[in-house]
Homo-oligomer: 142 residues x 4
């Protein structure tokens, strides 16, 4: 993932509630972190997700994949990086990296999600043009 | 807790996702189980919570207390029992017991919650009279 | 997915805690349901996951993908079906279907996960031969 | 709650995953936030909870109560304050306040928990004297 202005980065500390009895973070929680990164990316693009919902549009997850490497553990300091990888009129794709920071930094997981725009009844909709424009400007597509 | 027709009982198996690295169930999840028991109790009283929401009323939790005894563990078979302990025009109180079933049955926890009726904007409302009537009929108050 | 004895099937009802403010189930929770299906499949293969952990082996999720169709909603009755799709000495792959039951039955989502065997310190391990044998017998691979 | 050095304070932003279909935060999540505040308090007292576990002691929640006022909502900026309210050789009590920050600041909820020290098998234990001392020094008891 390129560095640059078109990324959303958040810093998190692993919560006790996110661990399971294997002593590591329960795998579904990585999707929660991805979403926090995505929220931050949208805020940085100038279009907070809360604003999107106020405009009557929801972005529903249509597909999500996570590849897990080393496990995240309780109290780990994490850095989640999100970026737009594709922006179409009805669907946006995001890529994510989850890094452990501190003394033993490592890339712990990568993930991707595809989101589709729907209205309050669940009917597919086009993204607001202004939002789409910002996603395209923020995308790493060439 | 008296036995009888005015209880909602559900049977659950502890999920892996509900454990934490202490090797037991994370404490906040007991409130989730209480809510499932409450949902079942309302269904048995003939007034599913989904119906309540369709009528424009939400029941928001105003107070919740849990006392934990022996810990619930992964794959334990549980029985959650809920009953109405007080029914007022704007607030309903529930009591709960969480039991482990199987070879080593035990009462694992007790809990109580008080719920208040609000509308979609969060404004306090009276409970629909029919619902209140059912809660009162279903209550163990004398 | 073929019908047959080599599937694990569980019936769930969507919990209120699993919804989000979009009015549908939060997407990460589908992975929790997949895991419950996987647990049931292992139980049916005669090798409960709790037994696997007692033998010092953990099955850690190395990869997970979910494709979401129609959304699951509060109080929906679901059927989760899991089966083994590949069984190797160090890694097992599973496929999943999440169906809504009742008046408007539908396939809501499909998913896949790949799990690797590790010991208590996180070191990769071979699966116990007996468990691998059962996974292979239970697999839909030819 | 007195201001002062004996508090643990954390700043959180409400996650989408923490909301439910009522459009507000699901009530059980407040206990998660309390725990994050407690973790921070312990870190500030110089005894991180991760260190406590490394010493073979777990602090298990024996009792938890939450009083909910105005609801927390998606993307709200929160401040969670935790302090020790009682410190005994086998049990520690904590009090919590959850505040919304920003343009419309408000105290959203208060909570209390009592934790007991147990070893890895769940047997009650005394707290390590050094930890107890720090809790006592950090307590607001007179």
């Amino acid at each position: 993932m390129r560095g640059g202005e078109h990324e959303g980065t958040v810093h998190l500390r692993v919560r006790y509630s996110e661990t399971d009895q294997m002593g590591i973070v329960y795998h579904a929680n990585y999707l929660v972190w991805c979403e926090i990164g995505r929220t931050e990316l949208m805020r940085e693009l100038g279009y907070a997700y809360a604003d999107v919902e106020r405009a009557g549009i929801r972005l529903a997850v249509a597909e999500a994949c996570v590849r897990y490497g080393q496990a995240a553990r309780y109290d780990d300091a994490l850095r989640v990086v999100a970026r737009v990888t594709a922006a179409q009129s009805r669907a946006i794709s995001f890529g994510y990296e989850i890094h452990r920071e501190g003394e033993q930094p490592a890339l712990l997981a990568t993930a991707s999600t595809r989101l589709v725009a729907i209205d309050e009844r669940g009917t597919p909709r086009r993204l607001p043009p202004e939002l789409l424009e910002r996603f395209r400007a923020g995308s790493s597509q060439e």
